[in-house]
């Protein structure tokens, strides 16, 4: 067999193996992005997926209990009750009115059980007062502030 062919076969095996691993990893961790509005109209089969939702934390809604933190996020006029049960401490940026991204699953009662919460953000670009705000939208992450 020619050396090029041998190399080709070796390369194909490696790439195929890694591709398979990638597929496994993707199945394990894939998370569907939804908006708060979409959540209420999800099909039952889709509602079982791991889901990521973004919204603005309603002021005064953060309540900390042993082993969990409850809060409400809002977006597009709708709201969603979230219960964070993860072990990591919540980020310092997570405060009233901050924009939060929560990841987890929908509980049968319609509440959202999150094991991961992110909040905006380290090197955030904020327009100074007196300047027009930058346009938002596009990522599904940033909702309008209510």
């Amino acid at each position: 067999m020619k050396q090029q062919t041998k190399f080709g076969v070796g390369a194909a095996i490696i790439v195929a193996t890694l591709g398979w691993l990638a597929w496994l990893g993707a199945q394990e961790s894939k998370t569907y992005y939804h908006t708060i509005v979409e959540l209420s109209s999800l099909k039952a089969s889709d509602a079982r997926h791991r889901i990521r939702v973004g919204g603005t934390v309603r002021p005064g809604s953060i309540a900390r209990y042993a082993g969990r933190v409850d809060f409400v996020i809002e977006g597009e006029g709708k709201s969603l009750a979230v219960s964070y049960t993860g072990t990591d401490p919540l980020p310092d940026t997570f405060v009233d009115n901050s924009q939060a991204l929560v990841e987890g699953k929908l509980a049968p009662n319609g509440a959202f059980v999150a094991d991961k919460v992110q909040a905006k953000c380290a090197s955030k670009y904020e327009p100074a007062p007196g300047q027009p705000k930058d346009s938002t939208g596009g990522s599904g992450y940033s909702e309008k502030k209510s």
Binding site: Q3, Q4, K6, F7, G10, A11, I14, V15, T17, L18, L21, A22, L24, G25, A26, E28, S29, K30, T31, Y32, Y33, R52, G54, A63, R64, Y65, A66, T87, D88, P89, L90, P91, D92, T93, V95, L101, Q118, K120, C121, A122, S123, K124, Y125, E126, P127, A128, P129, G130, Q131, D134, S135, T136, G137, G138, S139, G140, Y141, S142
Partner: protein
Amino acid sequence: MDLFGSFALLLAFACAVYAIGAGIAAIFTRRPLLIKSARQAGLAVCILIWMGMASLVYLFLTDNFSLAYVAGHSNRDLPLFYKFAALWSGQEGSLLFWSFLLSLYVFSVLFTYRHKHPELIPYVGVVLAGVQLFFLVLNTFIASPFQVIGTMGPHGVLQLFAQADGKGLNPLLQYPEMVAHPPMLYSGYTGFTIPFAFALAALLGRYPGEKWIHLTRKWTMIAWCFQTVGILLGAHWAYAVLGWGGYWAWDPVENASLMPWLTGTAFLHSVMMQEKRGMLRVWNVWLVFTTFLLCILGTFLTRSGVVSSVHAFAQSTIGPWFLGFIIFSIAVCLWAYLKNRDYLRSDNQLDSLVSRESSFLFNNLILLVACVAVLSGTLFPVLSEWVQGSKISVGPPFFNKVNIPIGLFLLFLTGVGPLLAWRRTSLDSLKRNFGWPLVGGLAVGAILFPLGFRDFYALVCVILSVFVTLTIFAEFFRGARVIRGRTGANLFAALAQLTMRNTRRYGGYIVHFGMVLIFVGLAGAAFNQDKQMEMAPGSRMSIGPYSLICQTFTSRPAQNYTAERATIEAVRGNQAVMMLYPERRFYPANEQSGTMVAIYSTLKEDLYVVYAGRSPENDQPVIHAYLNPLVKWIWLGGAVVVLGTFLALLPNRQAVLVVRAAAEKVAPGAAPQTVRAPLRTYEGND
């Protein structure tokens, strides 16, 4: 000063346009005066960008809060040190900083080669000015850091006003690494522009031979080294500041910095194939194009809001510009390649599967697969939306599943590759070079396994690390023994001489050794533990071999924040080890808080303690403790990589004193000053 800065940038923009026009004209007419004029315009662009940067620095240092950018990212109480970090903490400033670093490279290139390679440098100048022009458009017209704060008053008159104080720098960025990390990473990103420009120039100008590779080797290594340090500093910042106990989260911004590193690493290896064997010419050109494009893509990803990230800049209008520039660059590269692809034909073909060539090929293959995996994982939400219509993201399990085996395979190649012969390797030399190191690695594995080192990947990683380390040490030892036999020098002198004779080879080994240390550190993550507890003064928590005894909680004001600080005594056995002071800081300027992690770091493990806040039920402080084994090895490995790169950048030295002296004796009338033996330096002796 803001006017001075924005005019400097505007003028730089004009000069860049001229440098491109004059450069293209010079390439066609080959008139020396035009070549010189284009070059000097290129130099002027750089100097003008420096002026723009200097004026922004001045505005920050003088607390000029009439500027939107300064007011948004600094405040009066901010320590001087962090006013520099504030410079590049926002979009406009960081883009100007990008231009600034690029201009340092461009200036050095244009100046160093001002009298050399007249057929190549005009092309290089045009490409570099083109890249600079793009960033200057952003700096001047799209995201100028020199915008003043103003509102449209009655009668359409713009009313300017200055703020009494700024909003301050994001507390997460008020950390020493944040002053060093962006300049390092950006120096990496921008540095890859130089090999890109030379590759494109050589292709466009059909510049003969592998000369461009020799010319760019140093630049590529410098860029690579900065990129490595930048990534590690970023990881260290995440580790020491974000307080989640880890250093890498496969966040899009982290991935963005890793991707060009992967292709850049592939490029550094595969150019050797071209230098020695005239192979992979097309591949190399595309590899360096890709590296550059990934650098631009990285900048784009962090600024456009295409993928959401914890530390991405919020969406802005700047995205389409980057996208346009990336598409334009791809088009230019593709056009140059299609036009001149016959110039890139290969001299040789692969001779054997067990050879240096094939180890390089495998190295390149999996680095590229890693890059594709990271890229597709990062862009998964975008891609899935195109394909399926629903946005789906993938998390760390995806990245880890692919990249851990890739990393281990690379580690294996790190040990094997450099010792394989070019063309083909005999079974005998395989046994001689790898027999004992392999036995050593397996022996260490056999000792660790019963001690509870059961994680499969971590075990493989340690076995390979020992194997690679032994092959590297054996190489040094073998070479040093030969020199010692010949000169009688002691072992250390012989080692130093050996390294200096072929800095590229032995510097490379040291870089490899540094990577081994990093891998050992990464393997430690398989054994991380953590524990969270409400702690009152006097209460005790135990984690691993340590006990944490809570002493007091105090509050202390500082220059621009107030800190709530826990005093915790770490005890090991019955021996007090260290007092730890994890803090939570509150910054009034922007009403944000930040954590200060307390770390007790040893070679064996890091005890990492976070003051996680107060429990809302009973106001008890919550302490989160992590035990992270071997993390220190990562930072040590980084230092070794830098040392190795530095050595590899030094020219080879070989004193040819003996030969010269003999020659002088033949001609006794020779002038005495020529007796001094010159140091012969040469390159590419790998």
